[in-house]
């Protein structure tokens, strides 16, 4: 993404932000509340159209991108919260994620042709594989509403992964998770790196610093820093953006030091 600007009415939500996710890397996107992280995410997904700037994917410019095209381009995204389909079992939820790989058409479904059955079987196997990978296979027959929040997050992740994306966009995957679960999530994201590129929006500094290869920092719609975790942490502009905010100052300062502590422990 180059030179992305978004204006909502007279408010400039993003101004001239550029960001590139290198293949196989984990790229973090951080910033204080209201910095424009989610807006940038939505631009990348076609949910919000940029006022200015270009989005390119594998060297080609994406014009008039629509969200429904994403998976066929090899991009999958999880939502803030979980956004699971409440009226469907966990397995079915993940099978919907495999929509891109479905082959059977309307007619074969209408006539219940064996090709339709076979196609379903294939999707089911794919979904089970993804669930197994995330350790949620035993919940396959359950409904999301009856499952604990962290399990729901895993299912949502499985639904994104089952489309076999080249770029996985995670919108605050750690929100609502305990310390241990966050650690597991970190390991999981690291294990994905290399196979897929990951773009990560996250509040938990600790996690971001541990798993990301590169980090972009936004503040009030502007890009204030970019680089490796160490570079970003050393950048005075970043500290100021976080500490300058009077309300969150203490909490964020604590988070930053914690993140530091976490790294030395490793």
């Amino acid at each position: 993404m180059t030179g992305i600007s978004v204006a909502f009415g007279g408010v400039l939500a993003l101004s001239d932000v550029s960001l590139t996710v290198e293949p196989g890397q984990v790229h973090g996107l951080i910033g204080p509340n209201g910095a424009g992280k989610t807006t940038l995410f939505n631009v990348a997904c076609g949910l919000v159209r940029p006022t200015e700037g270009r989005i390119s994917w594998r060297g080609e410019e994406l014009r008039r991108l629509r969200p429904a095209q994403l998976t066929s381009l090899g991009i999958a995204r999880t939502l803030q919260g979980v956004g699971l389909f409440a009226g469907m079992t966990v397995l079915e939820n993940v099978m919907v994620g495999a929509h891109r790989h479905a082959r059977a058409g309307f007619l074969s479904a209408l006539l219940a042709l064996p090709t339709s059955d076979k196609d379903e079987q294939r999707l089911r196997e794919r979904a089970m594989t993804a669930l197994t990978e995330l350790g949620a296979a035993r919940y396959a027959g359950r409904y999301p509403g009856s499952l604990p929040y962290p399990v729901q997050k895993r299912v949502a992740l499985a639904r994104a992964l089952v489309s076999e994306p080249d770029l996985l966009m995670l919108d605050e995957p750690a929100s609502g998770l305990s310390e241990d679960e966050m650690h597991e999530l970190g390991e999981l994201i690291r294990s994905l790196a290399g196979r897929v590129s990951v773009l990560l929006v996250e509040h938990h500094m600790d996690l971001v610093m541990r798993v990301c290869d590169r980090i972009t920092v936004l503040d009030s719609g502007k890009q204030i820093a970019a680089g490796t975790p160490a570079e970003v942490q050393a950048d005075p502009a970043v500290t100021e953006a976080y500490l300058g905010d009077a309300v969150d100052a203490e909490a964020d300062a604590a988070e930053l030091t914690n993140a530091d502590g976490g790294r030395t422990h490793d």
Binding site: A86, E92, E120, G141, R142, Y143
Partner: protein, 391 residues
């Protein structure tokens, strides 16, 4: 220690919340089916053909063991059930409400009436197919508009269809016969049918009976196709669109196209229902396709359980059999005929309210919810036992 104890109970609490009560009937899980123990074969086609065959045998038995009057009631049931089946797919599975299905039925009915009015009418299957196609064409048009609308706006738009379309019949009264409507010449029963009835029961193969059979055949074929769709990835995709638009879109689903598809499928069923109605009632008139018809269909699917075909059938049966039942009850309590007839809507209203209070997910929906909750509880108990065992 305390940590271990608290986690199963917290999860147990989560179990109690029922997943989307209103559409629980729609959650005929396609994925689970194969995991469930069942005497039915794995293949969807074989499974549904087997059910189709069983239902056909049952229907023949029902039609031959009942009186001619009941035969005509069953014929009425078939067209209600065909339309309700289509509507439950649209509303229950795809989450689109339609108050305009009566109008789509009118399109089918008038097509049938016009085609049979010719000096040398086309064969009946062709007439029925043409009725379906006309309804599909109108349904596609409405569907494209509907795909952009939600909730009350969609209800309003389809309401306009329900009110407006039958009005066309009055405006173009030279073609459609105005208020009086068009008489429908029901085709004669083929000889094969007479010999079939003769072999099965020896009953009189009247034209009422033929029409009841015709409706039943249409009903079975419609439900066979609808059941296939519901169980396939088509049904799953519809439900995904209903439950979570953004997530569905991010999974690569084109929301608009899938909504239009649901509307078209539903309209096809409504068109066929209209054609059967025209044949059974032998009349296609604006008074037959008022808003009340559309609303009756909606109450039928809500009573039965949104999204369930069996529920749509049950709801339609209630729609057809409850009024005469209430009237007879009234008469047996010594009311005169007019008074007894007025009891029917009252009883219907009471039943509707009672159902909404005690089984808000409809008949079939409530049974499904029970089963789902039982399963979830069992899984929780299992998990708790595992945790205890590990300790």
């Amino acid at each position: 220690m305390s940590d271990l104890q608290s986690s199963p109970s917290a999860a147990g609490k989560a179990t109690d919340e029922a997943p989307v009560v209103a559409t629980a009937g729609a959650n005929a899980s396609s994925a689970q089916a194969s995991a469930e123990r069942s005497f039915l074969p794995q293949s969807t086609l074989l499974r549904h053909l087997l059910v189709l065959l069983g239902s056909a045998v049952l229907a023949v038995a029902l039609l031959e063991l009942s009186t001619p009057y009941q035969n005509s009631q069953l014929a009425t049931l078939t067209y209600y059930a065909i339309a309700a089946g289509g509507l439950t797919v649209l509303t229950g599975m795809n989450g689109q409400i339609s108050l305009g299905h009566g109008a789509l039925m009118a399109a089918g009915a008038y097509t049938t009436a016009l085609l049979l009015d010719a000096d040398e009418p086309l064969p009946l299957p062709v007439v029925l197919l043409a009725s379906v196609l006309v309804a599909v064409a109108i349904g596609a048009l409405v569907g494209v508009a509907a795909a952009r609308l939600h909730g009350p706006y969609l209800a309003g738009a389809t309401l306009a269809l329900a009110v407006g379309l039958p009005g066309l019949a009055i405006y173009f009264h030279d073609i459609f016969g105005g208020e009086q409507g068009m008489r429908v010449r029901a085709p004669q029963a083929p000889e094969a049918f007479e010999s079939f009835i003769d072999v099965v029961s020896g009953n009189n193969a009247s034209s009422t009976k033929w029409l009841a059979y015709l409706g039943t055949i249409c009903l079975l074929i419609t439900y066979f196709f609808l059941a296939n769709l519901v169980r396939s990835r088509i049904g799953r995709t519809w439900r995904a669109v209903r439950d979570q638009e953004v997530a569905a879109e991010l999974a690569g689903i084109n929301l608009g196209a899938w909504r239009v598809l649901a509307f078209v499928v539903s309209a096809a069923a409504a068109g066929l229902a209209g054609a059967v109605l025209a044949l059974v009632v032998r009349l296609a008139a604006p008074s037959g396709f008022t808003l009340v018809l559309s609303l009756s269909l909606l109450t039928a699917i809500v009573l039965g359980g949104l999204g369930s075909l069996v529920g749509a059938l049950l709801g339609s049966a209630l729609l057809v059999f409850l009024p005469p039942f209430a009237r007879d009850m009234g008469a047996s309590f010594g009311l005169d005929q007019t008074e007894a007839a007025q009891v029917a809507p009252f009883v219907y209203g009471v039943v509707l309210i009672v159902v909404m209070i005690f089984v808000p997910a409809g008949f079939v929906g409530t049974i499904r919810l029970r089963r789902m909750n039982a399963k979830a509880k069992k899984a929780m108990a299992q998990a708790a036992a595992d945790a205890a065992g590990r300790r």
